[in-house]
Amino acid sequence: MTDVRIVGAGMTDFGVHDRPLAELFADAAVDALDDAACAPADIDAFYLGNAMSGQTDGDTHLAPTLASHLGMAGIPCTRFEDACATSSNAFSHAVRAVAAGQYDTVLVGGVERCTPATGLGTDEMTAVFASAAHRQYEQPTGLTFPGVFGLLTTRHMHEYGTTEEQLAAVAVKNHRHGTLNPRAQFGTETTVAEVLEGPVVASPFRLLDCCPFSDGAAAVVVTREDAVDDPESAPRVAGIGHATDAVPLATKADLTATQSARDAAAAAYAEADIQPADVDVAEVHDCFTGAEILAIEALGFVDTGEGGHAAVEGTTALGGEIPVNPSGGLKAKGHPIGATGVAQLVELTDQLRGEAGERQVPDARYALAHNLGGDAATTLVTVLDGGVSA
């Protein structure tokens, strides 16, 4: 097995894009290819993450369409669907294929359109998202995704005393980080008072506890270690964990553990041979403020039950002990479902190259991405190493 490195990264601004998926994706892919100094002919395979294009755009068999648009028809193209964890799963498979020697260089990306530019209103897009819940034993109750995380977070509040003010502090932090990211959907700060005055979406979450509907795309190029000219600008994939938990939600043994994240993190830390305390910067799946609290506990950044204090005390802010979501996270950067996992890796590549501008975490070596899908049933945790000596 050879080591694998990210040699190119690109993404679109996240927000509203009233354009065909192929054109939207090409913007991110061309940036990643140019960043890698790769011609389309250098790409051996294409791994795509897209969760919902059949429902949102009436458009399936997407991977070869996108590859053709980029002049890459002919290579193997594979599409992944794992709800919000879609493109980190594509990334995982691409990295394993290169490590195993199947391919030398692979383009991995994600694209999704979720805003009203698709022609779908809030109730229709809420239904599209809810299709990731169990068809027979969750969807008929009217459970939504804010509702899924509402159930988990309400239980966390009951068990550990987590408060709505602590949830709001996560939104405040990530909005502040988002103001430093020109690609973020939200470029404005918010306050705890403003979050708490918002309308309820699914209790305990109010509007500003929730990530927005977003359109966008992200892409990276991965290649084998011995083909890399400039390792200083090519973070090494040090470890990937991929785990699942029971579906439907009610059969999970513990609703606040997000066990798939704990299992994926344990596998990723073991492969990277690091501890949680070694992580310098993290992008975690904050689809809702409560989800970030569950995530930082599952990743071992804080003790279980203590997650509510982190944003309030500044532990997870830029400048804090473990900066979480310097990009603004899903909350402020945006969450185009199938693009989110790779977009986390684009941010972390920028961080490890020292190219993250005003939101740069100084001297970051180990960077971690946590990408969760469905009713906390899928989680991928990826550890990148920006150090030159592996």
């Binding site: 809030t122 109730d123 229709e124 809420t126 239904a127 809810a130 068809r135 027979q136 034993y137 969750e138 969807q139 008929p140 109750t141 009217g142 459970l143 939504t144 804010p146 509702g147 509402g150 159930l151 988990l152 309400t154 239980r155 009951h158 309308p199 309820v200 979406v201 699914a202 209790s203 305990p204 029971a246 439907p248 939600l249 009610a250 059969t251 609703l255």
Partner: protein
């Protein structure tokens, strides 16, 4: 309807008859409130259909205020602890986590699916 005593069709029929149909693993005792082809704990396929209690305690809940197409918000969704297992349901009433709740019938959706409905235990019929 299916002849399988532990299928989705059997579960729906039972629900409409006021019965919560679960499955208990004959090997390890793990119990599910919804049909499974195999035990989630030990993967044995020897699951025995079982009748679950109609009362439990509320394990967690959320009030959905922004609903998908076909549903009229606001409404409550909860997970009820039935002792040996838990079940996701639509929730009526004011029960908080830890309060007793009781099965109160079914919710039929516009697309023909069925969900269990629970309410505060002291208000059940």
């Amino acid at each position: 309807m299916s002849d399988d005593p532990y299928s989705h069709a059997a579960w729906v029929d039972a629900l409409r008859d006021g019965v919560l149909l679960g499955g208990r693993c004959r090997e390890c005792g793990w119990t599910s409130a919804t049909p499974q082809a195999a035990c989630l704990e030990c993967a044995t396929r020897d699951l025995e259909p079982t009748t679950l209690p109609l009362e439990g305690t509320l394990h967690t809940e959320t009030t959905v205020a922004v609903s998908p197409t076909g549903f009229d918000a606001p409404y409550r969704v909860g997970i009820v602890d039935l002792g040996a297992t838990r079940l996701l349901c639509r929730l009526e009433g004011d029960a908080a986590i830890g309060d007793p709740v009781a099965f109160a019938g079914t919710l039929e959706t516009a697309d023909g699916e069925v969900a269990p409905l629970f309410t505060d235990a002291d208000q059940s019929p």
